[in-house]
């Protein structure tokens, strides 16, 4: 479908807003990490360090410069792909993160690919047969999953599948992944746990968005034109619920990159979230900042994408 220039202008505007938000967020991330208690040089050198040594290190690390200058240095570094050097093991942050990010994205990708279609289908089905046994079953299950904290689900999954039944390995990293079956087995537990948590939200939001559209006069009109229930829901209701659904999906999926720390910890999965926690423990500021920026970036890009879907799926914004 041909989109007019106004639509693209709106999309460009939305992208511009995302960019501005990213700068504001980077500002917040940088200064929030500055607020962490303790002096970096002091911590790095340990308790036995002389004051001269600490002062020297501060000078060498540029910690005496005004914060705003350090922020600008850091920001230009970010923009050019230079994430800085770890305080702790003096490796390039980009090298540290690269492998971890790939792991995280792999896990997130598998979960997203698996749970999004399933969740959308279940949400749409529940709204279509609202009030029936199917709807109630789906609602009760999703509420149950939302109410149980994820570490509970993760721990229970390990207890049942790894400890009692012995079907799947409890740890997903470091086990042999020489065959396809082994890979599937290694990923099974974290993927199942994350899918549960993520889909429950998506199902509920999809159902709510769909029901709101199904209750509109034009969907009733479709039924009065002789459309079947399937046609009514898929052809008339779904396109108009696309905006809110895309936003619900984006919010759920953004959780996969940053919010999975508990799941990564329980299954000893080497992703970015775990790296960040390690960074906090060792007060490795450049590492923490980079991880935080990655989380914010993924969150922002997902919500921006959802908003753009909402803009493009709404013909009222075309002239």
């Amino acid at each position: 479908m041909l989109k007019s220039s106004t639509t693209w202008l709106l999309v460009a505007k939305r992208l511009g807003i995302a960019l501005i938000t990213l700068v504001i967020v980077s500002f917040a991330v940088f200064f929030a990490t500055q607020l962490l208690p303790g002096d970096v040089a002091q911590i790095l050198l340990g308790q036995a360090a002389t004051p001269e040594a600490v002062a020297g290190l501060r000078e060498a690390m540029g910690l005496n410069e005004p914060a705003i200058l350090r922020f600008l240095h850091w920001l230009t570094g970010l923009a050019t792909g230079d994430l800085g050097i770890s305080y702790v093991n003096h490796m390039e942050i980009s090298n540290l993160i690269a492998g971890r990010l790939a792991n995280s994205l792999k896990l997130a990708g598998v979960v997203a690919a698996l749970s999004t279609p399933v969740a959308l289908c279940l949400g749409i089905l529940a709204s279509m047969w609202r009030g029936t046994l199917l709807d109630r079953t789906i609602s009760i299950l999703t509420i149950a999953v939302i109410s149980v904290p994820e570490f509970m689900i993760a721990t229970l999954a390990v207890l049942i599948f790894a400890v009692w039944l012995g079907w799947l390995p409890a740890l997903s990293y470091g086990v042999d992944v020489d065959s396809l079956g082994a890979i599937l087995r290694a990923y099974a537990l974290p993927v199942i746990t994350l899918s549960f948590v993520v889909s429950a939200q998506m199902i509920r939001m999809t159902r709510a968005a769909m029901i709101e559209t199904i209750n509109t006069p034009y969907v009733e009109m479709a039924l009065l034109k002789g459309a079947s229930r399937t046609r009514m829901v898929l052809v008339h209701a779904l396109p108009n619920a696309l905006g809110p659904i895309a936003n619900a999906v984006a919010l759920s999926l953004s959780y996969l990159v940053g919010g999975v720390i508990i799941v990564e910890t329980v299954f000893n999965y080497p992703g970015v979230a775990k790296l960040m926690v390690d960074g906090v423990a060792t007060r490795d500021l450049p590492l923490i900042q980079s991880c935080a920026m990655i989380f914010c970036f993924s969150y922002l890009s997902l919500t921006t994408l959802a908003d753009m879907i909402a803009i493009l799926s709404n013909p009222r914004l075309r002239r």
């Binding site: 006069p217 009733e220 034109k225 009222r316």
Partner: protein
């Protein structure tokens, strides 16, 4: 006409389950027939079950309702005994539906053509190209502009009157035997309504389709129906030909409905002990608008250079169609929307444009009553609390004195004292509007701005509210500024009338001689567009097409 009726409904019942799980009957055993080619009107007030019956003819009940007894036969089909899949095959082909608000019934994300021909595609009546051709010929028959390309637009790109005619095309595409019109012109302005009614009637006359026309407006129905059924509380009150219902109504309820149409002449009250020479309200060159402010002027200008005076004890009516700026005028005078130019003089003193800078005394003397009591009354507060608030705010009343005054106010609007403990949701529409009025009276005002306060009410209820307002005016020496799109309501309560069009006053007229004295072409058009009970009104109505084209946004 053949002897066998196309539709026969026998002892038909519909039940509903309330939120509390209680079962109630909505339709209590209704029977009627419709002959081929006949147009039957279902007349009644809100809650009379007219739409429920109309939808049942398509084998459809709204969620929460179900058919509980009796039979409906349409042609060869026993609708009541059919399965959902069989009913789907009936809809659009045998019976089709023209909705109340086409603006809401068109899917905003699909092109008009795709929605108009959808019936033909769902039921595989004809190939797509043929269906589109058929749709274009229907667009022509319904006198739609640019019939060849209008289908490529989206619903938000055409006007309300056009959408309503497009929805008729949508219903007629499958060549049904019966078309159900569900209040299809209620949401339209009067000048637009005429065009739509004419289009419907000419299409129905050319075919041998039967029709069911659901409406609360007897005058509209009189133009189009052969026969009428008067409904109340899900029961048939009276059935007869249009002529008989209009001229020889047998049932008291029908007479009551017709009586609400009788023109009521307003007699001005005497302004006792008041300075009648000085205006109560004087508006001079008022400009107001919305949107971003540039050079101290808002970008969307609504009111332009409105001036008028209102003497004490007199009532001023403001009439105009949607978008004419009549509500904006009330909001600008009340200070809710500050005017950016011009001045409002109230009791001789100039009022500040915005609410915050007016004195409490000024606020207390002029009150506003909004159209929808549902949204104007806080649903979580009891009636007593709602009425007590202005009493404390303006008069500092508390305790027993305040309770006594709340009771007096309820008495003034003819409601029982026991109502003070109820919530707004537990009251009927008319009762809520009375509370809305009582809240304004609590301040002891001399001027009440009434913004379409009877528009959402049934005619009989609205007539009672107007009666109450007249009584209150005599007792309390009030003046009203009465905003309405309904000319007969304005006639019944006002002394003078302002006709508004596109944010400007086009003419000021005495209410009693509106049609006789109107000089401005728009006033004439508006006044002549109000439907009359005479069934030949639409046929004999002659409006200058150039005038119509100039003033109505069809």
């Amino acid at each position: 006409m053949t002897d066998a009726p196309l539709v026969s409904v026998r002892d038909f019942k519909v039940g509903a389950t309330t939120d509390g799980g209680r079962k109630i009957d909505i339709i209590r055993g209704v029977s009627f027939d419709i002959a081929p080619g006949e147009i039957l009107a279902l007349i009644g007030e809100s809650g009379s079950g007219k739409t429920t019956i109309a939808l049942s003819l398509l084998g459809y009940t709204r969620p929460g309702c179900e058919m509980t007894g009796g039979t409906i036969r349409v042609g060869e089909n026993d609708v009541t005994a059919m399965s959902e899949t069989e009913r789907c095959k009936l809809r659009g082909v045998e019976v089709s539906y023209v909705p109340q608000s086409a603006a809401a019934a068109f899917n905003p994300s699909k092109r008009i053509m795709d929605q108009v021909i959808e019936i033909a595609l769902i039921h595989k009546l004809m190939p797509r190209a043929e269906a589109e051709e058929h749709a274009r010929s229907l667009f022509r028959a319904l006198a739609l502009p640019e019939p060849d390309t209008i289908g490529n637009r989206y619903p938000h790109q055409v006007s309300g009157g056009q959408l309503q005619r497009l929805s008729a095309a949508m219903a007629l595409i499958g060549d049904p035997k019966l078309v159900v019109f569900d209040e299809p012109t209620t949401a339209l302005d009067v000048t637009t309504q005429i065009e739509v009614l004419k289009a419907f009637r000419s299409v129905l006359e050319k075919t041998n389709m039967s029709g069911v026309y659901v409406s609360h407006d007897l005058a509209v129905v009189a133009q189009i129906a052969d026969r009428m059924i008067v409904l109340k509380n899900g029961e048939v009150q009276e059935e007869g030909t249009t002529e008989q219902i209009l001229h020889a109504p047998a049932h008291p309820y029908t007479r009551e409905l017709l009586a609400a149409f009788e023109p009521v002449q307003h007699t001005p009250i005497e302004a006792r002990g008041r300075d009648v020479d000085h205006p109560l309200l004087e508006v001079i060159g008022l400009h107001a608008g919305y949107g971003r402010v540039e050079n101290r002027e808002p970008t969307i200008k609504v009111l332009e250079d409105v001036s008028f005076t209102l003497k004490p004890g007199r009532n001023l009516g403001v009439i105009g169609e949607s978008g004419s700026g009549k509500s904006t005028l009330a909001r600008a005078i009340a200070g809710i929307l500050p005017a950016y130019r011009g001045s409002v003089l109230f009791e001789g003193h100039e009022l500040a444009p915005d609410l915050q800078n007016r004195t409490k005394k000024q606020l207390q003397r002029a009150q506003i009553v909004f159209q929808l009591a549902d949204t104007a009354l806080n649903p979580a507060q009891s009636i007593g609390t709602i009425l007590a608030r202005p009493l404390t705010f303006y008069h500092g009343l508390r305790g027993a004195a305040r309770d006594k005054r709340v009771n007096e106010l309820l008495d003034m609007v003819h409601l029982p004292k026991s109502l003070r403990h109820r919530l707004p949701g537990e009251l009927s529409g008319g009762q809520k509007q009375r509370i809305n009025l009582a809240r304004a009276l609590a301040a002891d005002p001399v001027l009440i701005l009434c913004d379409e306060i009877t528009s959402a009410l049934d005619t009989v209820v609205a007539a009672a509210i107007l009666e109450l307002m007249r009584d209150l005016q005599n007792e309390l020496n009030l003046s009203y500024m009465f905003i309405s799109h309904d000319l007969s309501t304005v006639e019944a309560i006002c002394d003078d009338v302002l006709v508004m069009y596109k944010g400007a006053v086009v003419e000021a007229l005495p209410a009693a001689r509106m049609s006789a004295d109107a000089q401005h072409p728009y006033s004439k058009l508006l006044i002549s567009s109000v439907p009359q009970l005479d069934p030949n009104w639409l046929t004999s109505l002659e409006q200058d097409p150039e005038l119509v084209a100039a003033f109505s946004r069809r």
